[in-house]
């Protein structure tokens, strides 16, 4: 019994990262209506970011977020100016297609670049408190992963406030809802797109940092994270960042539960069944509007 509870808890902890990874993608998809399949590669770059910040500056890996997030924000702006800004000029159907093409090209290029620069080996960061755990009754919680969950939740909360209160946050939401109406009320929707993409990339960078701290990073983690994020986006639906986060937690727990009850090799099958059932019952997602 306590073994199962322990596994579910670990699922919940990784689920927080699924949620954070999905939040950035959900923002980009919801606002720009483009599908950035290179999102996982951006997470991977964030993961290498923390490896380098820790190695070069000797910072605590959690403090490295303060450097990785602004850098990711900048990377997002550059990618928007260089690539995705061209995509949003087209109508919605063409946008999805062209963003898929550019995303695949980008994913391919970033993956190859990472292998060339940093080899295909897995890397991680070691902290003095790496082995520390918190014990609650029979459960042991790895401190690092617990801290990651808390930070992920704080970032999602911050994003929620940003979108709810900040002037440009409202502009971003208005653009997501109806870009034509937003344009008519005088919102510069290009800037809203730029901000959404930059913030989405920054969230990817943050997610990558936490993934590296709690687990490890290698050039090939990108696709897996893109897929987890996409599954959460569909499960949760668009329109609510907190809903996306909860969707991430649900996926983490569901995977852990199915691995525990059906054995490791079949964990994804249960995920598949849940996914199909949700699609049939609620095509707009659990928390979609």
């Amino acid at each position: 019994m306590s073994l199962l509870a322990q596994q579910l808890l670990l699922g919940l902890l990784i689920g927080g990262l699924y949620g954070l990874a999905a939040a950035g993608l959900s923002l980009v998809f919801g606002v720009m209506k483009v599908l950035d399949v290179a999102h996982g590669e951006l997470i991977m770059l964030g993961g290498y970011g923390v490896v380098f910040v820790v190695a070069l500056l000797g910072l605590d890996p959690f403090a490295a977020l303060l450097i990785v997030i602004p850098l990711s924000l900048l990377l997002g702006a550059v990618l928007y100016w260089g690539l995705f800004g061209f995509v949003v000029r087209a109508d919605e159907e063409t946008r999805v297609k062209n963003s898929l093409l550019i995303g695949f090209g980008l994913a391919l290029a970033l993956h190859a670049l990472a292998v060339q620069l940093w080899t295909a080996d897995e890397r991680s960061v070691v902290t003095p408190y790496a082995g520390a755990v918190v014990s609650v009754g029979p459960l042991t919680i790895p401190l690092v992963r617990l801290a990651s969950l808390v930070i992920a939740f704080a970032l999602i909360g911050g994003l929620h406030l940003l979108l709810a209160r900040w002037r440009w946050g409202k502009a971003i939401r208005a653009t997501a809802e109806d870009w034509q109406a937003a344009m008519l009320t005088g919102i510069d929707i290009r800037r809203a797109y730029l901000l959404a993409f930059a913030i989405g990339t920054a969230l990817a960078g943050a997610a990558g940092t936490l993934v590296t701290i709690g687990y490890s990073v290698s050039p090939s983690i990108g696709l897996e994270w893109t897929l987890k994020a996409l599954i959460v986006v569909v499960l949760a639906g668009l329109g609510s960042m907190l809903g996306t986060f909860v969707g991430g937690l649900l996926l983490g727990v569901a995977e852990a539960a199915s691995a525990a009850s059906f054995g490791g090799p079949y964990r994804e099958v249960v995920g598949l069944v849940i996914f199909v059932v949700v699609l049939v019952v609620r095509p707009r997602g659990l928390f979609g509007r």
Binding site: L83, F86, N98, A109, A112, P265, F275, V276
Partner: protein
């Protein structure tokens, strides 16, 4: 796109394929035969994806799942002693049945959601096959001893011809017309009496059936591979890239796209060994930005400029 021009393209492509039957006698070099084999397999794969994405307008990102299922079933039956064509057909049937099962749920999703949903489904299937069948699949020594590349080549040639004929027949039929109506505006199509779900399922069945056959060809061609490999998302991406580079929803686009894509990939891989994926990725982004509608549309534009 007028029917006449489409039929002319079909004839031209089929003549080119017919001429390729002489290749093993004219240039009996394995490297050349392998290269053309790869192009032919790619044509089939791209054309199969084109049916559901180009004609019915449903961007299926889980296409590799059906290629993989075809490979898995065909390989198992063939190594078990069945003739390869029977095994390939069985693989295609399994792929179609799985597609219909999944399709009923997945077609509740529209546009980008359908793309995401199918990508996730394909990837879940790949992971599961990888977990359940982690061992590499190698042909028995007796089969390797009698391995004939020419047989594979002719089968690939026949399959590419089948895919071109299938799409030509579809494009000219009532069925194809209904699919295009859904692609342009699903609500309007429904309102005029087109059964959208039924047609989308038909498109998916045709598309995945061809993909399953292509998977069977893959299983017949390779001496050893991991069973999860043909389920890999790169097969979906390849089909998608070739179709988009050529021109989605046209008969000749995927064929031209496949030829260009395979040639480009091989060239880059040969000349920049270390950086080939990086260069290929960058090149590919450049093509998308410069030719957003693919080769076919670019050619149309040039033609219109010339004739005013």
């Amino acid at each position: 796109m007028t029917g006449r021009r489409e039929r002319a393209w079909a004839a031209a492509i089929l003549i080119a394929l017919a001429l390729l039957t002489a290749l093993p006698r004219l240039i009996p070099r394995d490297s050349v035969i392998n290269f053309v084999f790869l192009i032919l397999l790619s044509i089939t794969l791209a054309q199969s994806w084109n049916i559901v994405a180009g004609y019915a307008g449903q961007v299926n990102l889980g296409h590799a799942a059906f290629f993989g299922l075809g490979a898995l079933v065909a390989r198992t039956l063939w190594i078990g002693g069945r003739p390869i064509v029977t095994a390939m057909v069985a693989g295609a049937v399994v792929a179609v049945l799985f597609a219909l099962l999944i399709g009923v749920a997945a077609f509740r999703l529209r546009g980008a959601y359908f793309a995401i949903g199918t990508l996730a489904l394909g990837e879940i299937l790949r992971t599961t096959v990888n977990n359940v069948l982690p061992e590499i699949s190698t042909l028995p020594a007796a089969t390797i001893a009698t391995y004939s590349l020419t047989r594979r080549y002719y089968l690939a040639l026949a399959l590419a011809a089948v895919s071109v004929v299938a799409v030509t027949a579809l494009a000219g039929s009532r069925l194809g017309l209904g699919m295009r109506a859904i692609r342009e505006d699903e609500e309007a199509a429904e309102a005029t009496g087109v059964g959208a779900l039924r047609l989308k399922l038909t498109a998916l069945a045709l598309s995945t059936g061809l993909a399953g056959l292509a998977g069977g060809l893959f299983a017949f061609y390779h001496i050893s591979y991991y069973p999860a490999h043909p389920f890999g998302p790169q097969w979906t991406f390849d089909a998608l890239l070739m179709t988009f580079i050529g021109g989605v929803g046209t008969l000749h686009g995927p064929v031209l796209g496949a030829v260009l894509y395979v040639a480009l990939k091989e060239y880059v891989a040969l000349h920049w060994v270390d950086f080939h994926l990086l260069i290929f990725g960058a090149l590919f982004i450049a093509i998308v930005l410069l030719l957003p509608g693919g080769l076919v549309q670019a050619a149309e534009r040039v033609r219109r400029l010339r004739w005013g």
